[in-house]
């Protein structure tokens, strides 16, 4: 190994002065015999090498500089592409940031990935169509078929069960004991399907329900629950059940069970979605035509029996027989009451929709809503996420980079050593 002595400070100072003089002489700044001799030496050394062949220089120039000029348009094309593509890339990035999956839904509208919409339909297994139901009913009882409303809802005329042919009383008076089977005094019960519900089928009686999860800040849970209640009441519904749980400094939650007219379900859900960002949403639909028809059939049967009993009483030969028939009539009357209640319950199931609303109050929800606060919060979350990703990436890449850098440095040093070995003595 060659040992090179380390120059002392004095030697270094002399050397620096000497180098400065050399530089001044070679640059032409210094004058005098010493400076002139340095310039002469440089000129002599340079003159030892033959000048470059002009033809070679020309050929090399043509080979080197022309491609540079020819490649310029390509560079410009690439630059133009970059400039043109940059806004598009920026737009895509902004879209990802704005509509990215890490954001909750800003308002009612397209439900986020957390939301799900499910429509389930169960026919109930028994007779399922109104037509079938009508056929099953004896001729003495006729129930008008369901009518499809223009908006897609189904109007089922009240189960007007005529108790058979007109019954004449024993007194000879004409009795037309039309039995009102429905609960509504108007005589027609409207059972609309939810507007916009693709699963709603004409002529079917369907029960709809929905569940909705709304997000808000922890402090806003109570006020949002109140707003939901007011909205439901204004839509003609009511709050069946309500439970609000507020925790100071923690997450709060409210759970409400709402009853709404089926016809207003979609509009109500839309209105609820405008109150706060929707975290999740689901709608379900159950076909209850068979249950409805069965209830209506039981009422019709009871009414028919009652009419027959009245007719039999009128024609009873003995008082004892009359008493027996009256006892049965009283029993039939009770059955009619029960059947009416059952039919009214089915009608209520079809005409009202149950909506479960869950209000979640947490920090995440507080960032939602089209506000500056939300924007800042989202930006902070994105930056935090980016920082985490970068941190993880750095944890992997930094050691790897150091290793690669060390390898490259070692490789470079080795290559340089090999290259300069030719300058060593033989």
């Amino acid at each position: 190994m060659r040992v090179v002595p380390f120059p002392s400070a004095e030697v270094r100072a002399q050397e620096s002065a000497w180098l400065a003089e050399l530089e001044a002489a070679l640059s032409g700044e210094a004058q005098g015999p010493a400076a002139e001799s340095w310039r002469e030496l440089r000129s002599d050394v340079r003159a030892l090498a033959p000048p470059i062949d002009p033809e070679f220089q020309h050929r090399l120039h043509e080979r080197l500089v022309r491609p540079v000029k020819q490649q310029q348009p390509r560079r410009r094309r690439v630059r133009s592409f970059v400039f043109a593509g940059a806004p598009a890339i920026a737009a895509v990035l902004i879209a990802l940031v704005v509509a990215g999956p890490w954001r909750g839904s800003a308002s009612r509208g397209p439900v986020t990935s957390a939301a799900s919409t499910s429509l389930t339909q169960s026919s109930g297994g028994a007779s399922s169509s109104a037509g079938k139901a009508n056929r099953a009913i004896p001729n003495t009882t006729r129930v008008p078929p369901a009518v499809v409303q223009p908006e897609g809802g189904v109007t089922v005329p009240e189960a007007r069960a005529k108790a058979g042919p007109e019954i004449e009383s024993s007194a000879g008076a004409n009795a037309t004991p039309e039995v009102e089977a429905g609960a509504a005094a108007s005589g027609v019960v409207e059972i609309p399907a939810p507007a916009g519900n693709a699963a709603a089928a004409p002529g079917r009686v369907q029960q709809t329900s929905a569940s909705l999860t709304l997000g808000t800040s922890a402090a806003g849970v109570q006020s949002l629950a109140d707003s939901v209640s007011r909205l439901v009441v204004s839509d003609g519904g009511f709050v069946e059940n309500s439970q609000v749980q507020v925790q100071q400094g923690g997450s709060s939650e409210a759970t409400l069970t709402l009853r709404l007219p089926s016809a207003k379900l979609s509009a109500a859900i839309a209105a609820l979605g405008r109150l706060a960002p929707v975290r999740a949403e689901s709608q379900s639909l159950q076909d209850i035509t068979s249950e409805y028809d069965a209830a209506r059939q039981r009422l019709a049967d009871a009414n028919g029996e009652r009419s027959a009993l009245l007719l039999a009483i009128a024609k009873a030969p003995t008082q004892e027989k009359v008493e027996v028939l009256r006892a049965r009539l009283a029993q039939t009357g009770r059955e009619i009451v029960r059947a009416r209640a059952a039919l009214a319950a089915e009608t209520r199931r079809a005409s009202t929709a149950e909506v479960g609303v869950t209000v979640l109050g947490d920090m995440r929800a507080s960032s939602e809503g089209l506000t500056l606060h939300r924007g800042l919060h989202d930006a902070g979350r994105i930056l935090l996420g980016t920082a985490v990703v970068l941190l993880i990436a750095a944890a992997v890449l930094v050691p790897l980079g150091l290793l690669i850098a060390a390898l490259l440095a070692g490789q470079g040093a080795l290559r340089r050593r090999r290259r300069e070995r030719v300058l060593e003595g033989p």
């Binding site: 620096s16 000129s43 030892l48 220089q57 290259r419 030719v422």
Partner: protein
């Protein structure tokens, strides 16, 4: 430190250096016109083979052009980098040929520079040629790089891949040896 020789070529080279940030075709063209002869002179002095020197010259400019997008201005001027590339190429060529630079320069003095052909100058250059041939390869390389490349000490250090103080030491030692050897040769001739 200022550049060694202020000239029109030097000015063009400095302009190329000024355009280093955006190394466009004009800057490259200026660099080529101002440096091709010097690179060739350095290469032919190192390799003592004009054909190999032309190859090294072409290779140096091609490599510089290809790496222009990765060039860092802080790592030196284009001229310094060009000579660093030429030096590496010349050393690689020497390695390939597996031989050291010969002790004698077979090439005749060309008269390049002053254009003078008087006897005194011819004798002086012959002395310098002989003195240069006696230098160790490392020292001769520094002298050739300094005078052909017309590099400042910092540029010389970058081209050699060593510190500036180390480059200064090497240059000082090499030129001192060259002057001493030249003086000795002259004294011997006079004697």
């Amino acid at each position: 430190m200022s550049r060694s020789v202020p000239s029109s070529e030097e000015h063009e080279t400095q302009s190329a250096a000024a355009a280093w940030g955006g190394f466009d075709e004009a800057a490259f063209d200026r660099l080529f016109r101002g440096s091709a002869g010097d690179v060739h002179g350095y290469a032919v002095s190192m390799l003592e083979d004009p054909a190999a020197a032309e190859d090294v010259t072409a290779l140096a400019f091609e490599r510089l052009y290809r790496s222009r997008s990765r060039l860092d201005r802080r790592r030196g001027t284009p001229r310094a980098l060009l000579f660093a590339i030429a030096r590496n190429a010349a050393l690689d060529e020497l390695r390939r040929r597996r031989r050291q630079p010969t002790d004698e320069l077979p090439l005749e003095p060309s008269g390049h520079g002053d254009g003078s052909d008087d006897l005194e100058q011819a004798e002086r250059r012959a002395t310098v040629r002989g003195a240069l041939a006696t230098l160790p390869p490392r020292e001769r390389e520094v002298v050739l790089l300094k005078f052909h490349g017309q590099l400042s000490n910092s540029e010389l250090a970058k081209a050699l891949g060593i510190s500036e103080s180390n480059a200064g030491t090497r240059l000082h030692r090499a030129l001192t040896h060259l002057r001493e050897t030249s003086l000795q040769s002259e004294q011997q001739e006079v004697a």
